[in-house]
């Protein structure tokens, strides 16, 4: 493909107890610039799969490599990997005691050691890009859900990540605010950011994704381009799942 391989999963297993295995041998490669959408039933392990990438979840067997760095217990590796990855959570997780602007500038000030002027300028740029510049001096709980999520995206972007992870970013939003967040994510995709998104928003997958990954029972069941995936699913389980969610 000519694209750079960014993340590699090799036979990754994760279990909580010997009886309760969450990831049952996952193999996958993520490439730079791709938009990857992960769909699947709840409890399938797709969120866990996503969260192992930036070490929010540990894994017991197999190997994960991010941009050449092996993800293991070494704290240096973990920090190096986390600096390349931004994450957006279902519950936004904005810091309620800081203003919107400070939410975005916090990490650049303390980690990237930027000056206040630099950090704020970049933050305002990002907030403008996601469309919440007017709320910069308000506090998170004064914003609507959609606005908060967009701030969360800006906050992650402020660290100049190479990869952005989205864990069901619109699941906690009221319907009328879903579009504004998806629009921001689409704009990121247009600018060639590598995205890995766990979501139920199939419209987004159809329109923007390069790869659609169907995750079920702790494994990747099928993966294909959106056209192939939605029109021509090969696996029976995929077909079952699609029939359940496309026809309501």
């Amino acid at each position: 493909m000519g694209k750079k391989e960014l993340i590699k999963f090799e036979n990754v297993h994760k279990w909580y107890t010997p009886e309760f295995e969450v990831l049952k041998g996952v193999d996958y490669k993520f490439y730079k610039g791709d938009v990857n959408v992960i769909i699947g039933p709840s409890g399938s392990g797709k969120s866990t799969f996503l969260r192992t990438i930036n070490a929010l979840e540990e894994y017991q067997q197999g190997k994960i490599t991010v941009d050449g760095i092996e993800l293991n217990h070494n704290i240096k590796n973990i920090n190096a990997i986390r600096s390349k990855i931004g994450m957006v959570f279902q519950q936004f997780n904005l810091f309620p005691h800081l203003s919107v602007l400070h939410n975005v500038t916090l990490s650049p000030l303390w980690i990237l050691k930027q000056s206040k002027a630099e950090a704020e300028e970049r933050a305002m740029e990002l907030l403008d890009r996601v469309g919440v510049k007017a709320q910069a001096y308000k506090y998170p709980n004064q914003l609507s859900g959609g606005e908060q999520q967009r701030v969360a995206i800006a906050r992650s972007l402020a660290m100049n990540p190479e990869i952005m992870l989205f864990d069901e970013p619109t699941s906690a939003l009221d319907p009328e605010m879903i579009k504004e967040v998806l629009d921001v994510m689409t704009e990121l995709a247009d600018k060639n950011m590598t995205l890995i998104v766990v979501t139920h928003e199939l419209g987004f997958a159809k329109a923007v994704a390069d790869n659609v990954i169907f995750f079920d029972g702790g494994k990747i069941v099928e993966t294909a381009s959106p056209q192939e995936f939605f029109n021509n699913p090969k696996n029976d389980r995929t077909k079952l799942f699609l029939s359940q969610i496309l026809n309501h």
């Binding site: 810091f95 309620p96 005691h97 000030l109 206040k116």
Partner: protein, 404 residues
């Protein structure tokens, strides 16, 4: 009840009209309360009259002829009642402040142990908390007083450290524990104390300047500065350095000396004071530990994940994300614990510590002025509560997370 014609305001229509009904209920309630108050008051005044007394606070200016045992202010046998009540008040406040300080310190320490990843430390902290929370404070006080202090040997055979007998037969101690209390070597001001006092004042000003500077720097860099800890450290270091630089020492070592019947000199803490103090500290620290623990654990996991995902280190996450949020949840119950300490000092009456309440009891015994004294002591406690609530509400408003 049947009504005749709409022009009559019968009881039924009042009952059905919600506004009028509320008015009627309030009226009935009002009459009821007034009646109760009237009956009580008349009875009280009748009882007082039988004893040939009227409600009056004038007796407070009379000499009391009471010895109260220990006091931080200068009083004697003939001080007025008002003055000894004030002495009691000072006793209460002073022991409250010191107890609050120590119990918060210990409470935070226990909370950290409780959150430790070392299983033994965690279990020890849990056991401590469970024991403290399940026995009455009064029992704790009595155990300290009767089962510990009163069992100690007398002054002549006290448990002592640093005991020296000088050439003229005078025994002195570094530290002595007896059934009267504990005495220890303490630093007291010499005649040359004032220069050092001035230096400390300068240190205070420097610290304040430092605070202002740090706040300015916070504005400039956008990064949160430790605008309390560093100035505090500065003040302490400055005070220590100036103490040693000054040519004449500002403090001298006052060593407790064994006299004929008791020990004089040094710092003397009575058994009563120490029992009340340790009981209060142990008891309150258990509750404070739980408040801190649940405040810290109450910060949602997602916050910590978001901070770590952004690349903040563990210490940075704790300082910038967890603590500010925990503060909001911790302050209100912490304040009511502090108030509780002030109210719990009243238990000093059970072990003979002359706190405000105990002195009130003594006065009531002496003069029979129960009603006046109770009104007085209640007003003092209520004022304390109100002042504390007021300040707590102010601080709370300041740290509250801003909602829409």
């Amino acid at each position: 009840m049947k009504l005749e014609g709409k022009s009559r305001i019968g009881i039924k229509s009042i009952w059905q009209d919600t506004h009028r009904r509320m008015g009627l209920i309030q009226f009935i309630f009002f009459v009821f309360i007034i009646y109760i108050i009237a009956v009580f008051t008349t009875n009280i005044f009748n009882s007082l009259a039988k004893l040939d007394m009227t409600l009056s606070f004038r007796f407070l200016n009379n000499p009391s002829h009471i010895n109260i045992g220990e006091s931080l202010i200068d009083i004697n046998n003939s001080s007025s009642f008002l003055k000894i009540i004030f002495a009691g008040f000072i006793n209460t406040i002073s022991i409250t402040v010191v107890a609050i300080f120590f119990s918060t310190f210990i409470g935070v320490f226990i909370a950290l142990c409780r959150l430790s990843s070392n299983w033994l430390i965690k279990k020890i902290a849990i056991i401590y908390i469970e024991i403290i929370r399940n026995i009455p404070l009064l029992l704790l006080l009595l155990i300290w007083y009767r089962a510990f202090f009163l069992k100690l040997p007398g002054v002549k055979n006290s448990f002592a450290m640093g005991k020296e007998v000088s050439s003229d037969g005078i025994t002195s101690f570094g530290f002595s524990l007896s059934n009267r209390g504990l005495s220890m070597t303490f630093f007291k001001p010499t005649e040359n104390f004032n220069p050092w006092l001035i230096c400390m004042a300068i240190g205070l000003i420097l610290a304040i300047v430092f605070i202002l500077y740090l706040k300015h720097r916070q504005k400039e860099t956008g990064k949160e500065q430790r605008s309390f800890l560093y100035p505090l450290l500065l003040f302490i270091v400055f005070a220590i350095i100036t103490y040693f630089i000054l040519p004449e020492k500002a403090l001298y070592k006052d060593v407790p000396v064994l006299g004929k019947y008791n020990i004089s000199g040094g710092l003397h803490i009575t058994a009563e004071w120490f029992s009340l103090f340790s009981g209060l500290v142990l008891y309150t620290s258990g509750f404070i530990a739980e408040i801190f623990r649940s405040g810290i654990q109450g910060v949602s996991n997602g916050q910590i994940e978001a901070a770590r995902a952004l690349g903040l280190s563990h210490m940075q996450t704790v300082r910038l994300v967890v603590i500010p949020q925990a503060k909001v949840v911790i302050i209100p119950p912490l304040t009511s614990q502090f108030l509780g300490v002030a109210k719990n000092t009243s238990l000093g009456v059970a072990i003979g510590f002359p706190d405000m309440f105990a002195i009130t009891g003594t006065i009531m015994n002496q003069t029979g002025r129960t009603l006046e004294m109770i009104l007085l002591i209640m007003s003092i406690y209520l004022t304390l509560s109100l002042i504390t609530s007021f300040f707590m509400n102010q601080y709370n408003k300041k740290v509250q997370l801003k909602e829409r």
